[in-house]
């Protein structure tokens, strides 16, 4: 109950982590099934239909429901602490963001048991995703599930923007913000601009499918290529929504374990902004083979290649952060230094893809599959692992086992390289992506087998990580404030896990790496910026949960509004939009309650502000 009503950013972080972990696991199982099917030529482990559902759900799940929420978990856990805030700007809305994400994700995954998962690829290109060629409810689950989950992401992004703009501790100017906070800030800005595009796209596709509109239907005057533009105007920035937070994590972990401040802080900030900006200008590089014409292909080729410049700045800044440092290879840092070469691999193949004539050969082959997994798994997932090992003590008060962490690293890393390195060659040798099987004797057999073995090894790495979590959870809560001893930012000044109110007194920030600065000045604590006083807290409430349940019900109602259930009662309920209406009534009713009932929250008085952060 506590978890359903909480509005505390630290608990919401845990919720995001658990839910993201669950979906990541589902996506991982889907990946393994895909790899088993492709282990040998003309395999018949799954049918062609199930295979298409697997690749679609794997891609969709991983991107929208797996890694994004885990990033949101880390952001929620860390950003308010890093800027010296007591919570995010809108705690109620934060909870709402989580619950809509969760119910959107559940709705999407219900498709497996409710008559067919989406099968048109995570990109859902029309007309294949139209009702004419995708006759099950699969794509409806996709459009409506993602719509609901996307709402949560948008809400979360806006919340972080407001939090970072308004709630920084005194003295923390923008150019003193920790890098992870910076990347969260930029990421949220990208979300703010990119998600409306997919929202509109999903609405249009829903209209086409459920209400027989003609946005993408040529016969009705629509244009299927329009979907590709809308999708990628969202889809390309989405890649940066994923990778920028990983950049942020790496920029925190490497300095801590090298005992050095981040090299070229301001160029890092500007590189991040530049990447975000360019990220919006290059969507059509996913569409070179769609036939945009020579001028467009040339322009998008060049603008894409330009992203290599700010990315290069980042890579070298990280390397020179370590230069002259005292590098400790903790598990967290292993993932961070492992990130650099793997991400560079993904980056250079990205530049290769940017060359349009060459992309005519690369596009939609395993070369592309290799490329984006190097970026997403080799970049983002390694970044997430790094961040989780790094901040786990802050989140839970317990340090993850270092030796199991190292085992996770090595199995995952080796498995990863085995899985995806060979895929570059498969693509060049003529293997398209999204194929359920392939003929023998095309030189594909051995490399596919290697790739499958690698995937299993990655699975082992993930299992070791889970074991690590279970073992660690049994240990006592005894992590010190600053378990890595070289913490540089504000989160390390308060107990692990932090008390409900985070900071008893808002700290005064006197430079970049505020805590490090105090430590070097011989202080053990931050100088407070305010006297001890009563702390205002928001009240717990089940309303965000109820609102999301309402949206979930409404989604199901809309989706099945035209079905014949062979049962007059059910038909009556759905075909007259009664279920849809019930769902909306629940949601809007909860909204009404929220606006009519004035809740002023509560206060923690100074005498109740004990130092150790007991998690209620």
């Amino acid at each position: 109950m506590d978890w359903i009503t909480t509005v505390d950013h630290k608990k919401i972080a845990v919720l995001y982590l658990a839910a993201g972990g669950l979906f990541f696991g589902i996506g991982g199982i889907e990946a393994i099934l895909i790899r088993i099917q492709l282990m040998k030529p003309m395999n018949d482990f799954v049918s062609a239909q199930v295979f298409n559902e697997l690749i679609t759900m794997h891609g969709t799940t991983m991107i929208f429901l797996g890694v994004m929420p885990i990033i949101f978990a880390i952001m929620n856990a860390v950003v308010p602490l890093q800027i010296g805030a007591r919570d995010v700007a809108f705690p109620f809305v934060n909870a709402l963001g989580f619950w809509t994400f969760l119910f959107g994700g559940l709705l999407l995954n219900l498709s497996w048991i409710m008559g067919g998962a989406p099968d048109a690829g995570w990109t859902s290109y029309t007309p294949l995703s139209g009702s004419e060629y995708s006759g099950t409810h699969g794509v409806d689950f996709y459009t409506i599930g993602l719509q609901i989950a996307g709402l949560g992401t948008l809400i979360g992004g806006i919340n972080f923007l407001a939090t970072i703009i308004t709630m920084r501790a005194p003295g923390m100017s923008y150019m003193r913000m920790p890098m992870f906070t910076w990347t969260t800030f930029i990421t949220s800005a990208i979300i703010l601009f990119a998600f409306p595009a997919i929202t509109v796209g999903l609405v249009l596709l829903t209209f086409d499918r459920i209400l027989d509109a003609n946005f993408f239907d040529v016969a009705g005057g629509g244009n299927p290529v329009l979907w590709q533009h809308i999708f990628w105007i969202f889809g390309h920035p989405e890649v940066y929504i994923l990778i920028l937070p990983a950049f942020g994590i790496i920029s925190e972990v490497i300095p801590t374990f090298a005992r050095k401040r981040l090299f070229g802080y301001s160029s890092m900030v500007f590189a991040t902004i530049l990447i975000a900006f360019l990220g919006f200008m290059v969507w059509a590089h996913h569409m070179f083979t769609t036939g945009l014409g020579t001028i467009a292909n040339a322009l998008f080729s060049i603008s894409t290649m330009l992203i290599a410049v700010p990315t290069g700045i980042k890579i070298f800044n990280w390397l020179f952060t370590m230069w002259g440092g005292r590098i400790r290879f903790t598990a967290a840092n292993l993932f961070a230094v492992g990130f650099i070469p793997t991400f560079v691999m993904g980056g250079v193949t990205g530049v290769m893809l940017a060359s349009a004539p060459a992309d005519f050969q690369f596009h939609d082959t395993y070369f592309v599959v290799a490329h984006f997994h190097y970026v997403i798994v080799g970049g983002l997932v390694l970044g997430i692992f790094s961040g989780l090992h790094y901040w786990w003590p802050k989140m839970f008060g317990r340090i993850l086992s270092e030796s199991l962490g190292k085992w996770t690293f090595w199995t995952f890393m080796i498995g990863f390289q085995l899985t995806f390195f060979v895929q570059h060659f498969l693509g060049l040798m003529g293997m398209q992506r999204r194929i359920v099987s392939y003929l023998p004797n095309q030189d594909f057999d051995l490399l596919n087998l290697v790739s499958t073995i690698g995937a299993f090894l990655m699975g082992v790495g993930v299992i070791i990580f889970l074991v690590n979590i279970v073992i660690t959870t049994k240990k006592p809560v005894n992590a010190p404030n600053d378990p890595w001893e070289d913490g540089r930012t504000l989160e390390w000044t308060i107990p692990s896990p932090p008390p409900e109110y985070n900071f008893k007194q808002t700290p005064l920030v006197r430079g970049i790496d505020a805590y490090w600065k105090e430590k070097m000045a011989g202080n053990t604590e931050m100088t407070p910026a305010e006297p001890v006083g009563s702390i205002h807290m928001p009240s717990a409430t089940p309303l965000p949960f109820v609102m999301s349940v309402g949206i979930f019900i409404a989604g199901l109602g809309l989706m099945f509004s035209k079905d014949d259930f062979g049962n007059a009662f059910m038909n009556g309920l759905f075909n007259n939009y009664i279920v849809l209406i019930i769902g909306l009534v629940i949601t809007f009713g909860a909204m009404m309650l929220r606006s009519l009932y004035d809740d002023h929250g509560w206060h923690i008085e100074p005498e109740d502000q004990d130092e150790k952060g007991a998690r209620k």
Partner: protein, 350 residues
Amino acid sequence: MMKQWQVAKRILPLLAVFSLLLSACGREDLSVMKPQGPVAQGQYDLMKLSIAIMIVVLIIVFAIAAYVLIRFRRRSGQNDIPEQVEGSFKLEVIWTAIPLLLVIVLAVPTVKEIFAQGADLSNDPNAVQVKVTSHQYWWEFTYPQYDVTTAQDLIIPTDKKIAFELKTADVIHSFWVPSLAGKMDTNPDGTLNKFSFSAPNEGVYRGKCAELCGRSHAYMEFKVKAVSPEAFDRWVAEMKAPAVLPEDTQLAEKFKTNCLSCHAVGDQGGPVAPNLTGIGGKESVAGILLNQREGQEEGKPVLDNMKEWLHDPQSVKPGNTMPSPKDLGLTDEEIDGIAEYLANYKLDYE
């Protein structure tokens, strides 16, 4: 220009090594790394240039990373605090400038190649015009200059450029012959794509559908067969000859009513399904069941493949739209009879 050449010169030896390494991969009739025509060659050259540049980048980054990680790891008892370096304007400018330079080196030939390959040959009388129409899950090739339509095997002469106009009859597919040229999507009306390639050497090249198009996307293969100009002319003539029908008149009747409602042979039948003229001599049945061919170890006799297809088309290509001959009321013997007739229906042009 001078500067570019300098860079290129340094990259050349690397290029040589990598061409060798890369070209060890894959089949000649399929691999991107063994281009068999000028278009694929141009694309491959660009790929080699970019790979070489990227390898240089990788080597530099990996070397610095390895050096840093070994040299600056924390040894036991090392408890001092290193100098907190702010950054270095000079260094940062260097690693902004170098990637920029490398990007320019790649961007210039990229743009050149984009415009070189973008030429529109659709009104060129010297090119063979081919209209490609993709269907779930087969390929239709129409030659408007010769008034000929075929499916699955694209026959082209070696001496000419082939100018394609691509369109789809249903969802978006992508037309790809890796060893001859990169892929191009087949869009519905309104945004039709044009491109061209040529195949100077006789041979059979494997083509694939490269855009997810439904259940049998993986099986939507086709072949490009490049033949001498004389053979091509004979092929056109043979294609236009009157249809050959089964000798057994009863079987011929069954074939006409059940099959020719959709398919065509010679001058008879409908355009809904793949044209069957000379199907016994094609490279494959249904694009995916390879037929035995001289100098190739894979494949089954065409008769076996034909029977496999006709007895259960769904198991070969799930989700395809051909009705099962059994459901049309044909007996096993009739099906085998038709299979035999089709397997023996060959064109003599090579």
